[in-house]
């Protein structure tokens, strides 16, 4: 066990993947000598100079270059410095990489990993703060991973790179400095396996990335109020661990979904749809989404704080849910 930050854990995962397989290379803007704007790739350029490519500010060309190399057996890991800039690479991500396997009847594949630097970093405002995962969960052919702890981040970046398909790897900026224990010998962690981060019996809170930690705080708050909240981290969104969600709902019968992306049509909508299609019988009452409000991310800290979900809003929502249920029963 070593204690390390989420950023370090991703770096170690990249490093180990590069050691294990010469086909793995990194490509992105200022990820080389500079080590990336958030320092995630620091040191890797020194170690693998010819496998770390700094590109011009050309998101479409850099993702396209990764995708083209992957068609010939490369295993590139592209960094989108702020996932907001993936708007410029959507064609390569969605019309090319995502559809390669399908359009070719399985005769070609495009195993790229794209590191999507996600979420607000505090006053980063509307064009440097977005959480765009739901666009990609809605794009058949892409897998989407969203680790919330250093250990998961390290294990899952390796899984993503080894995966034969294009994988979008969502990293939250506010987690980069989060410390956690990472086992020296990490077990392989397949995609599609969620984790019960905290057990409980009254309500399941499904969350991921930074908001997951807010959910855990909320669960702690709730405990002192006598409410037992289970926190479920799906870890990957596509594939999604339906069984894990079902098992948790079996224990709790109540569902709260929390993420930073705007509410409308966020991945929370999909979780809600899954629950209300497949686990209807387990639910004791209406589910609740505690997600980003339907606004762009504002600059002022007070406004940003109002827009993003936090432990307090999650806690209150659970209280309200329980109260309404009592009211309905009465």
């Amino acid at each position: 066990m070593t204690t390390m930050t989420y950023a370090q854990a991703i770096r170690e995962g990249l490093d180990e993947a590069m050691t294990a397989d010469n086909e793995v290379f990194l490509i992105g803007e200022d990820i080389g000598e500079a080590g990336g704007v958030f320092g995630v790739t620091k040191g890797l350029w020194g170690k693998y100079e010819d496998r770390v490519f700094d590109t011009p500010i050309s998101e479409e060309a850099l993702v396209g270059a990764a995708a083209g190399a992957a068609l010939l057996g490369g295993r590139p890991v592209a960094e989108i410095m702020f996932s907001d800039f993936s708007t410029l690479a959507m064609d390569m991500l969605v019309n090319q990489a995502a559809k390669t396997s399908y359009m070719t009847g399985g005769r070609l594949s495009c195993p790229i990993t794209v590191r999507m630097v996600t979420g607000t970093a505090g006053a980063t405002a509307a064009q440097h703060s977005q959480s765009l995962e739901a666009w990609f969960t809605h794009t058949p052919g892409l897998k989407c991973v969203a680790p919330s702890t250093p250990a998961d981040a390290k294990a899952l970046i390796k899984t993503a790179i080894e995966d034969p398909d294009p994988v979008l790897f969502f990293e939250h900026k506010m987690l980069y400095n989060l410390k956690g224990e990472v086992p020296g010998e990490l077990d392989d962690l397949p995609l599609g396996k969620g984790k019960v981060v905290r057990s409980g019996s009254d309500v399941t809170i499904v969350s991921y990335l930074k908001t997951l930690h807010e959910a855990v705080k909320a669960a702690e708050n709730l405990e002192s109020d006598g409410i037992s909240a289970e926190v479920f981290d799906p870890r990957s969104l596509v594939p999604f661990d339906r069984e894990g969600l079902g098992a948790s709902l079996e224990r709790t019968g109540r569902l709260v979904i929390a993420h930073e992306a705007p509410t409308t049509n966020g991945f929370g909508a999909e979780i809600a749809a899954i629950a209300s299609e497949s686990f209807w019988g387990l639910l004791k009452g209406p589910l609740v989404r505690v997600c980003g409000r339907d606004t762009p991310v504002p600059y002022a800290p007070e406004l940003e704080g109002f827009v993003l979900p936090d432990a307090q809003r999650i806690t209150e929502s659970v209280h309200q849910m329980m109260k309404q249920e009592v009211a309905t029963k009465a």
Binding site: A67, L71, M103, T104, F240
Partner: protein
């Protein structure tokens, strides 16, 4: 200016001819088959531009790779693809190159390094650039060729890719087929320049103009570009001046073009061009050309027969191939 035909042996000359006629007839027949209801999707015929694909592909080696466009049949056939499996794909049958999932716009042949037609104008250009990066990373002497049209040179992907390729001196040949139109829009309404090769200078890259209706000129210019790419000299932008004889797609009558313009270019038909040249060559007789044409008719009849006999896909196959490897089905 053109490669003196004496330098090429007779077999190679006849092979160029064969490929060009094959493309022409493949496309003409596809058009008929579509009208007869055998082909459900879009077709963008390559007729008139055969010399570009055939000349370029004649300059290539087995280790080279290609990205193509919506108008990709010619590139694919020039590279040596099998008309049987191409028609089967157009017919949407199991034996098609893409198992009936792709159709004309997405056809591939991985064994030939043919990385795909592309439904997105400009979409293949970044992919070829990345493929070239991978070829170089692997120490291969291979080059990547990206075909695209005049219209595509106004896409951001063209600009970003040429900059990157030249910066990193990647082994790519960017072959622009300037057929004077992007869909129904003439070049002078889509860009303020006539010679697209001029854009190479923005990337400190050589920009060459070739006669896209002369297969030997195409061969000469692309051979040079391939040599430069293989020896570390980086990419080249080749502009092939050419014309499509037909409408933009099957069904388009091409009324936005003047009769004179069409006629002028018809007179420069690349196949007639080559035929005339070949017949001036004492080594080659009309009969041999007739023989080539007869062979092609047979081959294409057989290909259409093969396509028609190929089974339709089973509906549930639609759920396969979303993901590669073992987990082929779409998760639900």
């Amino acid at each position: 200016m053109t490669q003196p035909k004496e330098k090429l042996d007779k077999g190679k000359l006849l092979e160029l001819y064969r490929k060009m006629v094959l493309i022409r007839r493949f496309e003409e027949k596809a058009s008929e088959l579509r009208q007869a209801g055998f082909i459900p999707g879009f077709l963008h015929p390559y007729i008139g531009q055969e010399a570009v694909a055939v000349g370029t592909c004649a300059a290539l080696e087995a280790s080279d790779v290609i990205t193509s466009t919506h108008r990709g049949h010619g590139h694919m056939l020039a590279r040596g693809a099998d008309p049987k499996r191409m028609y089967a794909e157009l017919y949407a049958r199991q034996d098609g190159y893409n198992r009936a999932k792709g159709g004309s716009l997405h056809m591939i042949d991985t064994e030939l390094g043919f990385l795909g037609a592309n439904g997105i104008v400009g979409g293949g250009i970044p992919l070829a650039t990345g493929a070239a990066l991978q070829l170089r990373r692997k120490g291969s002497k291979g080059v990547a060729v990206s075909f695209f049209g005049d219209g595509a040179t106004n896409q951001g992907s063209f600009h970003e890719s040429l900059n990157l390729a030249s910066l990193w001196k990647l082994p790519v040949i960017f072959v622009c087929e300037n057929n004077l139109y992007g869909e129904f829009t003439p070049q002078d309404k889509h860009q303020p320049i006539r010679d697209i090769a001029r854009r190479a200078d923005s990337y400190a890259m050589p920009g060459e103009i070739a006669d896209g209706n002369n297969v030997l000129d195409m061969l000469r210019v692309t051979t040079e570009a391939a040599g430069r790419a293989r020896s570390g000299g980086g990419p080249t932008l080749v502009e092939a001046k050419t014309y499509r004889h037909r409408g933009h797609y099957e069904g388009d009558m091409g009324r936005y073009r003047s009769a004179e313009e069409v006629e002028e270019w018809m007179a420069k038909d690349p196949i007639l061009n080559l035929e005339t040249e070949l017949l001036q060559d004492s080594r080659i007789a009309q009969q041999e050309l007739d023989h080539v044409r007869d062979d092609i008719e047979e081959q294409l009849d057989a290909a259409a027969g093969f396509a028609e006999a190929s089974p339709h896909p089973h509906p549930e196959e639609a759920l396969e191939d979303v993901f590669a490897g073992s987990n082929r089905a779409a998760p639900s």
